[in-house]
Point group: C2
Chain length 194, copies 2
């Protein structure tokens, strides 16, 4: 097991309905050292790509994206989930369904911060049905920018998102792929990866 | 001028209606080096306090809070703006009005992550009317924890929040206090601080 799989096994909680709670270290309370390990690992996996920008979506993706951006020495941009009165002018927009909140959000990125010159690494904490990632991919491509890769902390391998995005040809790296969970025993089964 | 005032003067945009846009470096696209400078400065100002947790509110506070938490070597917790199905059990709740979005949100923190043993530094990117900070203070005090201080990147000094929170006796440090802005010339006037 890698460092993230070990941490999930130790501190993650399995709840009925295929819910994996990692809010003591990843998406409510945050272990910044773990974020930095995640950042370093994505940097290691994508260091050969000409990445000049990190893109994520609010809220819990922001911490990981900051750690990744620090490793690459590039800015990070986070997509916002609703139109803010403080955002000027033209924006890229995508519709994103939230698995967690059972809602559909409009996701926006200002056109100032993404353009054809950008080589983007998209990162997020979770991948389930892939709607958030597809929204971010669509925004990068609307900008004429290049998706150089996608880095996910935890992929729910029993949902369709990962397979869908890989089948479209995008380089997707998930640090931990959960193939099954048992709420009775609390056991998490990870997909073997090299 | 300190490093943040200089950056605001260089890259901030003044818009009619007392809007200061800093979304090229602080709250949409993020300069992670700047976040780290902010983190180090809050660490310098609050290093004499027994701080064991950093608290912020999603979304743009998360980046600053991560940098601050790294400097203190403690976890950070971000308050969430709506009830998530992925949050277990009991939560501390506060009502917070958003100046930016003209809405009222329920802000929540899981009771697992704040308790009487905690000495909390609250941080956020902006302080205007103070509603977000008052919500976070109320959550810390509901938990029986101690508010050791509040660290804000940019305070709008012409709005009431800063004065209100200082008058209640909380140690509030704002790295840049904007006393006035001129949308005609783009000039930002900062309050002199020691």
């Amino acid at each position: 097991m890698n460092f993230l799989e070990e941490r999930i096994s130790k501190d993650g909680l399995v709840r009925p309905g295929n819910v994996l709670k990692v809010d003591s270290f990843l998406n409510h309370q945050m272990d910044v050292q773990l974020m930095d390990q995640i950042g370093e690992e994505f940097h290691r996996r994508f260091a050969h790509k000409p990445i000049n920008k990190i893109l994520t979506i609010e809220a819990s993706g922001i911490a990981i994206a900051c750690s990744v951006a620090r490793c690459f020495g590039v800015p990070m941009v986070f997509a916002k989930k609703s139109k803010s009165v403080n955002i000027d002018g033209d924006m890229y927009v995508a519709q994103v369904e939230s698995f967690t909140h059972k809602t559909t959000n409009q996701v926006i990125v200002s056109k100032q911060f993404l353009g054809p010159e950008d080589h983007v690494l998209i990162v997020d904490d979770f991948l389930a049905n892939g709607c958030a990632l597809q929204g971010l991919i669509s925004i990068v491509e609307s900008a004429g920018a290049t998706v150089e890769g996608l880095g996910i902390a935890i992929e729910k391998g029993f949902q369709q998102g990962g397979n869908l995005i890989r089948s479209l040809g995008y380089p997707l790296e998930s640090l931990a792929i959960v193939d099954a969970m048992d709420p009775e025993t609390g056991t998490v089964h990870f997909r073997p990866q090299n």
